[in-house]
């Protein structure tokens, strides 16, 4: 129980501390993260010994809140807290010279608490609450530098898109609770839910995990600080959608799973293409995140959640390393655009090597962690029954991955560069980066056992492994040589800008909504006017009615008035003579008593004492008399 509380409440307490005291905020947040780490390690150890920690407390009537550290939850909590701790270390260095520290640190601690709550939630209501808090934290964090226009717009866009998709979550959870009668997240499939419910949940996943057609908010969210991108938008928050899929997986019917897989496959291809043609390293990584999440969605849709879990864990480490590396480049060069980043790798060799290792892992080169997880997904695609096109889609996605990673390597390395001075606190950033990269390297040691501990078994297949390797190698080489930083071709620009249809988000969504709001405003004004008119009409009618003279009524009213006047005069008389006079006399008598009383008082101590003695004697006599 304490482990659960530590994991969730540690970072929340840190967030409150930061907001209230505003002292030592970076280290306070790090402390909160370490608390969460300790708690999740404890939960993991308990879980390995076979003890599942649960606790439940009061919630809605009939639907108590539960926290449950199942196998999967404990593993995920551990992964989340490990990655977050190292990203915090990195962020201490990154944010050292940036503005907006208070908002950043309190928001990211809040986010960590909410994420752990989501991972450890044992019932759907807590899950939804944590989902919402995470969305809010993401809004705060993307807008850390809110004075920049693109940051404010991006946070709005992210929040609104997520909000629309969250409707799906509400409908889905509603369906689940109705179908099963309780809000508990059950590991065994109780009974399936209808297609509507499944599609609603899929909608929520699409929004949160930036699947097509909701993927553009993730690219825009790169306007936030890099630690935010590394934590939220690669490893944890967007993974929340996948976690939703994993927890709800037993409830999906095979038909629903086909939809899931299709969404995943389409996303892999489209966003992979966006990443290939991207001009900006962080946008490339954002599109890559959507693509990798598409892999995970596809794996679930193919019926192999194990592969999704493996890739979730692996991707968390890889993508956060990539983002951290990109952040160091951004810190140094001052921009994230490819055209400015030429030969940045030669300047910051250590960072580039970390970036390269993580990138190779993402492309799927053994023995790095990405190879194993990608292999699992390709196997899943190959062995899935219903849709034979899963495997080609996954393979093409792997190809794209290799291309865009190779391209980024090429741009970062080629060219000449002059050595510059190192920034302050680079050591913090490098420490965070390198620890995560070492997890990437050592991945082959712990990935399979970890997934197995989480209760799944990873699929493996030789054909998948070989085709994956082939595709990865070709892609990397191709990417290395295709290093034009700016794309001028119209078609490729269409891919790069996330397929703006009919003018994109602004035109398709924002303007119609504003027109709708204006229209509603007009209707309301008209309604108000008509209500006023009705009121005036009635008033006029009433006045006309009142003008009709009725002599009898007037006479009666007159008589009643005169009678009342007489009564009033009579009572006034009694008041004056009787009551007022009485009060005056009362006051007078009190004054006289006071006058005589004053004479007794002498102010001398012994006289006063004497009076008290008289009183005492008097009392004694009375007591004696009652007794005798």
């Amino acid at each position: 129980m304490i482990a659960l509380l530590l994991t969730i409440l540690g970072p929340l307490a840190a967030s409150i501390w930061i907001t209230v005291t505003r002292k030592q905020i970076g280290y306070a947040a790090l402390t909160g993260s370490l608390t969460s780490l300790i708690g999740s390690v404890l939960l993991f150890l308990y879980m390995i010994e076979g003890q599942i920690i649960t606790t439940s407390f009061a919630g809605l009537p009939g639907l108590p809140f539960r926290l449950e550290a199942t196998e999967l939850s404990a593993v995920l909590a551990l992964v989340v807290s490990v990655i977050t701790t190292f990203i915090f270390i990195y962020a201490i260095g990154y944010m050292a010279e940036e503005k907006g520290k208070l908002r950043f640190w309190s928001g990211i601690s809040l986010f960590l608490g909410a994420m752990q709550l989501l991972v450890l939630a044992g019932d759907w209501i807590l899950f939804v609450m944590a989902w919402e808090i995470m969305g809010f934290a993401s809004y705060l964090l993307i807008g850390t530098w809110y004075w920049k226009k693109e940051a404010g717009d991006a946070s709005n866009k992210a929040f609104l898109m997520n909000r629309v998709a969250d409707l799906g979550l509400y409908v889905g959870v509603f369906v689940i609770i109705l179908a099963s009668g309780s809000s508990r997240i059950a590991a065994e499939s109780v009974q399936g839910i209808s297609m509507v419910g499944a599609l609603a949940l899929l909608l929520a996943v699409m929004g949160k995990s930036a699947q097509v057609p909701f993927q553009s908010w993730l690219s825009a969210a790169m306007a936030g600080p890099t630690p935010v991108s590394a934590l939220l938008h690669s490893a944890t928050m967007v993974a929340a959608g996948i976690i939703l899929l994993l927890k709800a997986f037993p409830l999906f019917s095979p038909d629903a799973l086909i939809w899931v897989g299709s969404v995943g496959g389409v996303t892999i291809l489209l966003t992979g293409a966006t990443a290939v043609f991207s001009e900006d390293i962080k946008r490339m990584l954002a599109a890559s995140t959507s693509s990798q999440l598409g892999f995970m969605v596809l794996a679930v849709g193919a019926g192999y959640p194990a592969a999704a879990v493996a890739h979730l864990i692996a991707h968390a480490f890889m993508k956060s390393s990539l983002f951290l590396g990109a952040g160091i480049f951004q810190h140094e060069i001052g921009s994230t655009k490819y055209e400015k980043l030429g030969a940045a790798g030669k300047k910051l060799k250590l960072t580039f090597s970390g970036f390269a290792v993580a990138g190779l892992a993402l492309a799927g080169i053994p023995p790095l962690i990405g190879f194993w997880s990608k292999d699992a997904i390709l196997t899943a695609g190959l062995q899935a029954d219903p849709a034979v096109w899963y495997f080609p889609a996954a393979l093409a996605g792997a190809f794209f991955t290799a291309i865009y990673m190779g391209r980024s390597f090429g741009i970062l390395w080629k060219g000449r560069s002059e050595p510059e001075e190192k920034p302050k606190k680079l050591a913090w950033m490098q420490l965070g980066l390198l620890t995560l990269v070492s997890a990437v390297v050592a991945g082959w040691l712990f990935l399979d056992p970890l997934v197995e501990v989480a209760g799944f078994s990873v699929p493996k297949d030789n054909i998948a492994m070989i085709s994956g390797l082939v595709v990865a190698s070709i892609g990397l080489v191709a990417g290395w040589f295709a290093t034009t930083p700016i794309i001028k071709n119209r078609v490729w620009m269409f891919f790069r800008d996330n397929y703006p249809v009919a003018g994109g988000y602004t035109n398709v969504i924002v303007q119609p909504v504003q027109m709708l709001a204006n229209g509603a405003n007009q209707i309301e004004t008209r309604l108000l006017q008509s209500v006023f008119t009705i009121g005036t009409v009635f008033l006029a009618v009433g006045r006309w009615l009142a003008d009709v003279p009725d002599r009898a009524t007037a006479y009666v009213i007159d008589w009643i008035g005169a009678f009342n006047l007489k009564i009033a005069r009579l009572s006034g008389f009694t008041d004056d003579k009787g009551i007022v006079e009485g009060i005056a006399r009362l006051v007078d008598s009190v004054q006289r008593i006071g006058y005589y009383g004053r004479k007794i008082q002498s102010g001398l101590v012994h006289r006063e004492l004497a009076w008290s003695v008289y009183g005492m004697v008097f009392a004694l006599i009375i007591i004696l008399l009652t007794y005798l």
Partner: protein, 172 residues
Amino acid sequence: MISIQLILLIIFGLVAIWFGWRVFMTSSMVRSALSLLGSMVAIGALFLVMEAEFLGVLQIMMMGTEMSIMAVFMMMYMMDPGGLGNMDMSHQKNLSIAAGVAVTVLITGAVLFADWGTIVTQVPSPHEQNRLLGMEILKRSMMIFETAGVTILTGMIASIAVALSIKSSREK
């Protein structure tokens, strides 16, 4: 039934009364204070005779200290500490005598004519008494004790506050 306790009671009682009388009959201030000390010590002895050992010892110890301080204050504030001037420093004498006598008579009457019930002859040993008094203080009468403590503190603060001089605070 003349028991040793009765004799001692009467002896110490007379000592207390005599000393009490001497407090107000002498014109020397120091002698008044010392007479009061004597009276209080006699009262303490009465407690000891009545087998309330703890209270008796407490009374004697406390009163010793208090009377010496009172003697010091007497000498500070009296016009004639030595009492050599032979002035009669009293007023409303008749009233006071009447009041004192009346009260004494009334109380004696009440004492003599009331029905006191049976007299208990067995008293716990002093060791036992202390233990039981301690238990009483710390169990049932804990609140009273605490209140007494707080009252002492308040008294200390009040007396210091009252006795502070305006001039001395300005000098600082």
